[in-house]
């Protein structure tokens, strides 16, 4: 039972990196790829339908930690305190930028939020890289330091590559000038998820030792297993609906 929930945790965390990795990466690249206002609108519109379905994987990670690995949840979040705060503030500002950028007129309003999206996306990628390094070190040393920054740079680089590939797949030849296949997107998704997967593999024995008792895990399984097909189906539906071979995006996009 604890193996099953470790699998769920691993799937959700690597899934978050593989999916949200491209929207965070595109946020970082927004000024570079977008150029002017219309260009940035196009980049945001390309990722917009996926963002809600992507970020919710991390909300689910936190839920599984709390339900199935409560001892880990308290220890890890508290141990990473400043990084969790910067991750949350970055996440909040990135999302606010997406929701708000088109809600008022004026170039300054939208340009301001676009810069917010860019800076906050860097904040997300760097916070994640530092958090992964700190967790790999067993939360022993200070959570912010040179190795952490190096980890942040790696994650930021992988996310940027993944975002670049995504937009070259969804809008082939239109934003980056390049065309990428679904297979290439799958490869960069694996690359974006690799750091999280490596950490999970290293921490697996420790996580298993801290799983909730079987009574709790059974209840969770009974509640969640019947819903799994719906969750998978909803995610697949998003990709089928908003994939590149469909009709052009309605303009203007809501985000």
């Amino acid at each position: 039972m604890d193996i099953l929930w470790l699998g769920a945790l691993a799937l959700l965390l690597t899934g978050y990196f593989a999916l949200a990795g491209f929207d965070i990466g595109l946020g970082m690249l927004l000024p570079a790829l977008g150029g002017n206002q219309e260009g940035r609108d196009r980049v945001v519109a390309a990722m917009a339908p996926f963002v809600l379905a992507n970020e919710v994987w991390l909300v689910a990670v936190a839920g599984v930690l709390f339900g199935a690995f409560p001892a880990v949840e308290g220890e890890v979040l508290y141990g990473l305190y400043p990084l969790v705060v910067s991750l949350l503030v970055s996440w909040i500002l990135r999302d606010a930028g997406l929701w708000f950028r088109r809600r008022a007129d004026g170039r300054a309003w939208r340009a301001g939020w676009d810069w917010t999206i860019c800076v906050a996306s860097y904040g997300l990628a760097l916070s994640w890289g530092m958090a992964l390094v700190a967790m790999a070190g067993g939360l022993a040393g200070p959570v912010i330091g040179l190795p952490g920054l190096a980890g942040g740079a790696v994650v930021a680089g992988l996310f940027a590559l993944h975002g670049w590939t995504f937009v070259s797949w969804r809008l082939p030849g239109q934003v980056t000038g390049a065309r990428r296949t679904g297979r290439a997107l799958l490869l960069t998704a694996c690359a974006a998820a690799a750091p999280a997967a490596a950490l999970l593999a290293a921490l697996a024995p420790w996580l298993l030792a801290h799983a909730a008792p079987d009574e709790t895990l059974s209840v969770l399984s009974v509640m969640i297993l019947p819903l799994t097909p719906v969750m998978v189906g909803a995610q697949v539906w998003v990709w089928r609906t908003f994939g590149p071979r469909r009709a052009a995006d309605p303009t203007p996009s809501f985000f």
């Binding site: 936190a62 819903l227 009709a247």
Partner: protein, 394 residues
Amino acid sequence: MDVLDLARTQFAVTGSLHFLFVVLTLGLAPLVAIMHTRHAVTGLPVHERMTRFWGQVYVINYALGILTGLVMEFQFGLNWSGLSHYAGDVFGAPLAVETLGAFFLESTFLGLWIFGWHRLPKWLHVACIWLVTLTAYLSAFWIMVANAFLQNPAGAVERGGHLVLTDVGALLANPMLLAALPHVIGAALWAGGFVLMGASAYRLFTGTDEREFFTRSLRMGVITALLGSLLTVGSGYFQFAPVAEFQPDKFQGDPLAGIGLGFMILIGQSLQMVILFVLAPTVYWLPRWRWAHPILMLMTPLPFLAAILGWLAREVGRQPWLIQGRLTVADAMSPGLTSGMVAASLVAFAGVLGLLAVADYALIVRTVRRGPAAVALGAGGPADSTERAHALSH
């Protein structure tokens, strides 16, 4: 303030902000779903325009619900790791089911609904907003299961220094849940109804266009608020028996809890009388009575204020317990937490979320002021070129 006060303040500020937006999300979701269904059935343009206009208000409001909710979810681990250490095996389960079995689906289907205009087949698109509504109410259920457990830790026993789940049925049938859930749902419908009513009153008061649109909306708002107020006040009184049984000192210990309860009842009772004996009987004529519209606008924030006061009463009344009779807030605080850490995160969260909340309300007001012709949600459809010409001519 010491570190405990700071951590409690952080929870109170983020929690209050969260519920201000969540209460409207829960209230508007079924109304937008009904509008969308009516459009799908009748094909009348007014229903599509109502769906998109009120849907945009709903979606803008939703943004802050998510953002404050993220802080709520992670805050348990940041400041209150003693809670997951002592009771995580029980308290964590409903929160996990909420994120996986409800919010995960809600967020995915909401994305499909927002970006699915002119893309999804008509009835599948309608199904999306109903699934969003259903999962939003499932979320409310699981969150209230978790909260009721803090009020009355049913279904768990202490073993080896921490709580173990022994009886799922007792967890789900907690007497502190059974009346509180309809109370919260009633308050949400009330708030949603009042936003329809107040915003429509503003449009009818200031402009002469879109009379049919806002007449329909105002009536729908008053009827929804009537249903919501009956449910809220009724289930509110049903809560006194379980509170007397499980938390007999709830409104005596801390003056803030008693004050919160007192003012909530004052606002709730008075408003309910006004709805029941004035607004509902005159709902047919109310859209034409221009003199009454400023009063309706002024009443709009009151259910939100009452909702926050109600949560203050429910939560502060449990002091000094985090889990009634089992775990105090002082023991639940993360060991080693310093004032500096909590103060810095409090400033960051409260500052950012506070500013965004103000911006969010300003954007909702802007949406209402610009009216149905300028709505961005679902724009770009076949009927839209005439709409845009109409908007530009204003």
